[in-house]
Structures are given as C-alpha cells and as structure tokens.
C-alpha cells in the first residue's frame, strides 16, 4: 500500500500498525492503513481532516478496536489494546485539546492516580512530588512551576508542559504529539522542538501529528501521509519537501492554494478614524472598501485582536470613531454589530464559532432565525431549505443537515461558522485566524469562499499569523506593533519575511515608515 516505503523492515520498530481497517456506523474511517515507526526517530503523521489520523491514533491509544489488521508494539503483537495497557507499555499521548481540570493544582495533575506516599503512612509525600516535578521541569524546560499552582492560572504553553511532564514522569518509550503547536506562539514551539529532539536523542520514539508541513520538514526523520483512510506514502524527510507532502495529501497542486482574483474595490464600507483603546491600540485609521480583502497581522499584544473585538462590539474603544457605509456607529454588544451586518468568525472556533452540540442546520440559522420566524414560530421548511442551500454552496461535508457539528472535521466546522453569516446576509466579515486547525483541502475552499464574498461586494478583514496565507489572499496588509499600525504592504509586492520583520518591530523594517 505504501508508494515509497523507505523505512527499513527491521526488528527495531517501536510501533507497527499493519493494514488497519476500521468502520464507524458503516462509514469507512480506515481502509487498510499501515504505520511503521522506527525506534528512536521522530515520525510525522500527516493527512487532511478525515484522512484517518485521529482514528489511527485512537486505535493505538486503545480507545477503539480495529475491525481488521494488527498492532505490533516492540515486536509484540496485540489483538486488543486497552488505554491502561497502552500506558503500561510506555506509550503516552500529548493532545492539544485534552482538557486538564482547571481547578486542579499542577501537583494533583502530575501525580493523579499515582501519588507517592510517605512510607508506611497513607499520607501523600508532597515534598517528594515537588522534587520529582521540579527535576523534570527544570531539566527539560528550564522553567519553575510550583506544584501548588492552579492549572487555570497557566498559559496554554505551560499547560502543555504539565502534560508532557506527566508523561515524562513515567519514563515513556513512545510519545505521541497530536497538533501540539496549534495554540503555541513560535517561540514556544521552538522550545517544544528542542525538547522533542532531545527526547529522541535519549531514545524516546516520537510520533508527531501536525497540519503544519514546515514543522514536519523541520522536525521529523520520516513522515507517513494518510489519504482517505490509507497510507499513500512513507518518506524520509531528506528526500522530500513540504510541497511534495502537501501534493500527496490532497493530490492537488499547491499552486492552486491561493486562488487570486482581481476585484475592483467599490465604495467605502468601514472607516476607522483615530480609534484608540487605552493600553491596547491607539490612533488606528483604516478604510475598508467593498470587494476588498484587508489583511491584519501582529504578534500577541500588538492590539490586532482587540481591534477586531472592538469592531464586533465585544470591547469598546476609548476614543475615535467607527463609520459603516458612511454613518457613525457605536456598538456596545455583538447583537448591535450583527444588526449592522458585521460578522465575526472567531479564532476559538469550538468555543465561540460553532455550537458543537447543535446540528448543522441549527448552527447555520442561529444568527438569522428571525428570517425564518412568523409570529414567533419557526418555518422549518424554509429553514431546512436554507441549510441545504448553504451546505451545498460551501460543500460542507456532514452526515446530514441534522448531524451535530461536533461530528464534523475542523475545516467543515469552520465552513458552518462562515455559513451562519452568509445566512445572515452579513457584509463586513472579520475573520480571526480563519484556517487554524483546518486541513489543506478545506483551506483552499475557505480561500475561494473569501474571494466569492469579496466579489459579491462584502468587505473582509482577515487577521492571520500565517503570513504566506495572508499575502496570498489579501489585497493589502496592515501590520500592528504595540498598538499602532507600523507598516502597510500591498500584498502581491511583499514577502513573508518582510511582513514578519515589521510585525516584530525590527528597526530595519520600520525605517520604511513614511
């Protein structure tokens, strides 16, 4: 099944999943996928959402049982795995989405279920717990986290450190990282990469799952590409490139990634005049025209996020004015903004973008219910027609319009989040990191959709830290640094390096400010 198997067949395999078949309610999730990971290597696992990555990992974790195929760990074949058994075998999973209990302390989280006790007593040995935790935290991460700190007080990166530390306390043989950098800034990701390399050098086998192919390129020794529930290739990274991997994932050429179209901008739709919010951003003056896609970027704390939140009425500015279609407005809550045809596709999709336990239909019409209401009651037929129409137009892949959004892939969830605003006939779209956690195929579809919206006369602001994407889909880019617009770029005439330099406030880049 593998097109280019370069991993040698030796007994040195830490993991060997062979011809795994798995069905869910009649749907094929895995159609004979194999994954062979050599001991002491970093092995990448990539594929679009729905390609079977998470199913394969859940099988390895003992959360599901395969219908066919076999799982070999350290040369030993297992028919059935339980989560407990997997942990005994020294396989640990670091999952971005895995929830830590926010009201637990670091110590409770690290030692839950295996608390060391003071010999001969039922009492917890807190000093030993702190010592063992500190050793690992200090040695591997160079950080100090008191065991008494609450999980809720930690940053995303620190929470991940706690997860990894919990695994390291068990001296793992295999560590599986599932999208570990999705919520990390670059500097934190670098720390993680150094850690992964060090663990590999210490003999730990790493399985690394990511949407970011540049990370795979940078970090992995081998990579296995999954597509439609099968492994289409396992490659050594020295012999391949991110572009080649991406082609294998989508079987489509990467040049089609950013469908560029030229739209003549129309009238001004949104004007910000010296908008300021104390301590966040100041003197922001921007004009957005119909048919224009405006890029916005900046590091954490640049004020870009706060600006977007202000525009949607989640925060208020302390001075300056906002005009929509030439009329001054002041929105103090999202309801007012939505009535003014503003739409926000928030970054934290699963928290604020879509309701996971509502159906596709219920999500799509949530904001536009009034259109389907007569005398307070809903017209289900018209509502269904609207949902079917948008599901078709946006090619949302779901088991049906009544499927819970929870069951959709990240890309399709994001399409639902956008469809909600199409149903509301929104005209100004604020897209905050619109393709985070979205597979490549869906990304292209979302880019196309943004182009369509602009062509229909909508004004669009995209906030993104994915600079090639930002350059690829916008007309111009504003860079925020410490609350001010420091540079403006015409998208086709700039490069990711140039934009990045400006957003880090590098003096070289800022000298161009005129």
């Amino acid at each position: 099944m593998s097109a280019a198997l370069t991993v040698k067949n030796t007994a040195a395999d830490a993991l060997h999943l062979e011809n795994i078949v798995k069905h869910f309610d009649g749907a094929v999730a895995l159609a004979g996928a194999s994954l062979r990971v050599r001991r002491g290597t970093v092995h990448g696992l990539v594929g679009q959402n729905g390609a079977g990555k998470s199913t394969l990992i859940k099988l390895l974790a003992g959360l599901h049982q395969p219908d066919e195929g076999r799982i070999e760990i350290d040369g030993q074949t297992y028919g059935k795995l339980t989560p407990h058994q997997v942990e005994e075998l020294g396989i640990h999973f670091i999952h971005q989405d895995r929830l830590l209990v926010p009201t637990f302390t670091v110590g409770e989280t690290l030692f839950l279920g295996r608390e060391p006790r003071i010999a001969g007593t039922p009492f917890l040995d807190r000093r030993l717990m702190q010592r063992r935790a500190s050793e690992i935290l200090n040695d591997y991460f160079g950080v100090r986290l008191p065991n008494s700190a609450l999980i809720s007080e930690l940053s995303t990166a620190e929470k991940q450190i706690v997860q990894i530390t919990r695994a390291l306390l068990d001296q793992p043989k295999v560590l599986v990282f599932d999208e570990p950098t999705a919520a990390l800034v670059r500097r934190e990701a670098d720390i993680l990469f150094r850690l992964i390399r060090r663990l590999r050098d210490e003999g730990v086998t790493i399985v690394y799952i990511s949407h970011y192919l540049n990370e795979i390129e940078e970090l992995c020794d081998h990579v296995t590409v999954l597509r439609n529930g099968e492994d289409v290739a396992t490659l050594a990274l020295g012999e391949t490139s991110a572009a080649a991997i991406a082609r294998l994932m989508v079987a489509r050429d990467i040049e089609e990634m950013f469908p560029k179209r030229s739209i003549a901008p129309g009238k001004d739709i949104l004007t910000l005049n010296r908008l300021s919010s104390r301590g966040k951003y100041h003197d922001i003056s921007v004009t957005l025209r119909r048919g224009e896609v405006l890029g916005l970027t900046g590091l954490l704390g640049s004020g870009a996020k706060d600006l977007i939140r202000t525009l949607f009425g989640l925060e208020t500015a302390t001075s300056g004015t906002i005009e929509i279609d030439g009329k001054p407005v002041r929105s103090v809550n999202p309801a007012q903004s939505v009535d003014r045809h503003l739409a926000l596709v928030p970054e934290d999709r699963r928290a604020n973008g879509v309701a996971l336990d509502l159906s596709v239909t219920e999500n799509i019409t949530l904001s536009s219910l009034k259109r389907f209401t007569q005398l307070g009651f809903l017209d289900f037929r018209r509502e269904r027609r609207e949902a079917d129409d948008l599901i078709g137009r946006l090619e949302i892949k779901a088991a049906g319009r009544d499927a819970l959004v929870r069951t959709l892939s990240g890309g399709n969830q994001q399409k639902v989040a956008i469809a909600k605003w199409l149903s509301r006939h929104s005209e100004i779209y604020l897209l905050d990191e619109p393709t985070v956690g979205v597979d490549i195929g869906s990304k292209v579809e979302i880019y196309n959709l943004i182009g369509d919206l602009a062509a229909r006369g909508a004004g669009i602001i995209v906030l993104s830290s994915d600079l090639p994407e930002l350059i690829g889909i916008t007309d111009r880019i504003l860079v925020l640094f410490r609350g001010s617009i420091v540079r403006e770029f015409v998208s086709p005439e700039t490069s990711p390096d140039e934009v990045l330099a400006a957003s880090t406030g590098s003096s070289e880049a800022l000298r161009h400010v005129g």
Binding site: F24, D25, G26, N333, P334, A335, S337, V338, D339, L344, P346, A351, N352, G353, V354, A355, L356, D357, L358, E362, N363, L366, S367, L369, K370, T373, G376, F377, L378, F380, L404, R406, K420, R424
Partner: protein, 332 residues
C-alpha cells in the same frame, strides 16, 4: 415515537431491537412500572385509581416540572419554583378572603409568581449570579417573607362559607367530566411543547443551554432570553400555586417546596427522552407520569412510606443508565 422509524441502516434485527429499547427507555420504563403494579396490587389498574393518579399526583407536578424545564432549557435551574407557587397561592387566597373578585385575585397570583421569576432574572441576567445560587437565595428569602407575612407560618384558611364558586371550580370543577386542573395542565403541556420545539424563543433557549458564548457571538441577546425563561418559570409555577390553593382552599406557607425535588427529577429524567439529551416537555411529562405512578403504586402495595423514595431513586438510576448507553451510541 419518531425515533422508531429512523434506523433504516441497521441490518441486524437484534441490534434494531436493542436500539428500540434504548431509544425509548423512558416509555418502556413507564410500561414496565405499569405492568408491575397491575400485577402486584389489584386496585392499581382501576379507572378510579388511574384518575386519582392524574388528579392527585400528576397535574400539579406536571405544571411545576414544566416551569423547571424552562429554567433548565437555558442551562439553569430554578430552586425557587416553590416560592413562586407559595407567593401566587398567598396572593390568591388573601385577596379572595378580602372579598376581591376571583379573576382579579388569580391575576394577582400569577403576577406574584412572575415577580419571583423577575427577581431571579435580575439576579441572574442583571447581576450575573449563577442560577443555582440566585434561586437558592430566592428560596431562602421567600421562606422568610412568608413567615413574616403569616406571623411565623400560620396558614390562611378560606372559611367553607366564604369560598366563591369560581374559586371552587378552578380546584374541583370539571368540564365534560374532565377535572379543570387537568385541562389547565394539558393546555400548559401543549403550549410549552410548542414554545420549546417550534418557537424561535425555544430554539434560542436550548442553544443558550448548550453553548451560550456561541449564541452571544451570533448576535443574540442571551441575557434577555435567560430572563424571559426564568420569568416564564415563575409564571407557570404560579399557575400550580393557584390550582393548589383552589383545591385545598387554604394557603400553607412554604408548602410549594414539596414539589421542588420531584420537578427537578422529572425534568432531568425527561432529558433522557431526547436523543441529544436536551430538556424537552414530552420527556418531562413522561418523567412526571413515572414518578406519579411509582408514588401511587408503592402506596397501594402498602410498602412502608419511608421506602417510597428508595423506589424513586432506583428508578432515576435505571432510566439514566439506559439513556447513558444511548448517548454513548449516539456520540461514538
């Protein structure tokens, strides 16, 4: 049941049968309980007894549980339904005693219940206190106010001679042989079902109960909807208060709290009737029926009164266990 017809892709008969059982856990539990009591006691399956279940056990609890269902639908809970019952009952009985027209007294009673709901709404939507704590506070405050108003908890009786006909009709009258309270309960059941399943308000309420932040980000006034849900809860509970006092022709301070735990039980048993575990009126009504029948049946079997709640508790476990299996299947 609609869910019976939905499984067209299950080839295996036994799997289909299991599916039917699990999807209709609540209905089957009801049938099972009916069967057991019919066999166990000769007097259970008589017209008189079934009527008695509906009138004495079912009616009031159904109304209170529907009030609770509205609070639960927005992701909250209303521990003060009893307070709304009592305030409504107090206003109703006192005004009738003072010689006011029954219709006016009834409206005042409904207003008193709605006011309890509005007080909760201010605490929850205005100040931002969690529904559990806000309504718990209302429960305590309400109890104190009633003691103050009744000099320490003395009941307010209507003298047998002074009970107006309309008042008596509300509690004990019949239309075409059907007790008036039962008719009122039926109307509320139908109305509440329509609101929760077909009205825009119901859709928004359930969405708030599931993921309020998304509803807010969709441009909907979440707090206003939560406020309306709690006012509705107070208003509906007040209806139960009117019927209760009209039936017994007396207001007894803090007697409404007797319904609280059963109303919560019925509402959450009812959520198991929905494939997605959502609060729903038909489920709540089935839950009330189940609790009513068990209470009545255990009484008839002559079982020690103190054992009855054990039966209720076990029943809740059984229904929850079945639905848990169901939920696991739905989300697998």
């Amino acid at each position: 049941m609609a869910s019976l017809t939905s499984s067209t892709e299950t080839p295996d008969l036994s799997r289909a049968v299991i599916g039917v059982i699990v999807n209709n856990a609540l209905v089957l539990a009801l049938v099972a309980v009916l069967a057991v009591f019919s066999v166990a006691t000769p007097t259970f399956l008589t017209l008189a007894n079934l009527q008695s279940i509906l009138v004495n056990n079912f009616t009031l609890l159904a109304i209170v549980a529907i009030a609770m269902t509205f609070a639960v639908s927005v992701g909250g809970i209303d521990l003060s339904v009893g307070t709304a019952i009592d305030f409504a009952s107090f206003a109703f009985v006192s005004l009738v005693l003072a010689g006011q027209p029954v219709a006016f007294a009834a409206l005042a009673g409904l207003g008193a219940g709605a006011a309890v709901g509005a007080f909760n709404a201010v605490l929850i939507s205005g100040i931002g206190i969690s529904p559990f704590l806000a309504t718990l506070g209302t429960l305590f405050i309400g109890r104190s106010i009633q003691q103050l108003l009744t000099s320490g908890g003395n009941p307010v009786y209507l003298p047998p001679s002074g009970v107006p006909e309309a008042f008596r009709f509300l509690g004990r009258g019949t239309i075409a042989g059907i007790p008036v309270p039962l008719i009122i309960a039926a109307l509320i059941i139908v109305g509440a079902t329509l609101i929760l399943t077909r009205a825009r308000f119901g859709r928004v309420a359930l969405a708030i109960g599931i993921q309020p932040s998304v509803v807010r980000y969709s441009g909907i006034a979440v707090r206003a909807h939560v406020a309306v849900a709690f006012i509705l809860a107070g208003l509906i509970a007040a209806v139960a208060g009117l019927i209760l006092s009209a039936t017994v022709t007396v207001y007894i301070p803090s007697s409404g709290n007797a319904f609280l735990l059963n109303a919560i039980g019925a509402t959450f048993i009812g959520t198991t009737h929905s494939r997605l575990g959502r609060p729903n009126v038909p489920g709540t009504v089935l839950g009330v029926l189940l609790l009513s029948i068990v209470a009545n049946g255990l009484l008839l079997t002559g079982l020690n009164f103190y054992w009855q709640q054990v039966g209720t508790g076990l029943l809740i476990f059984a229904v929850l266990a079945l639905s848990f299996i169901n939920r696991r299947k739905a989300t697998a």
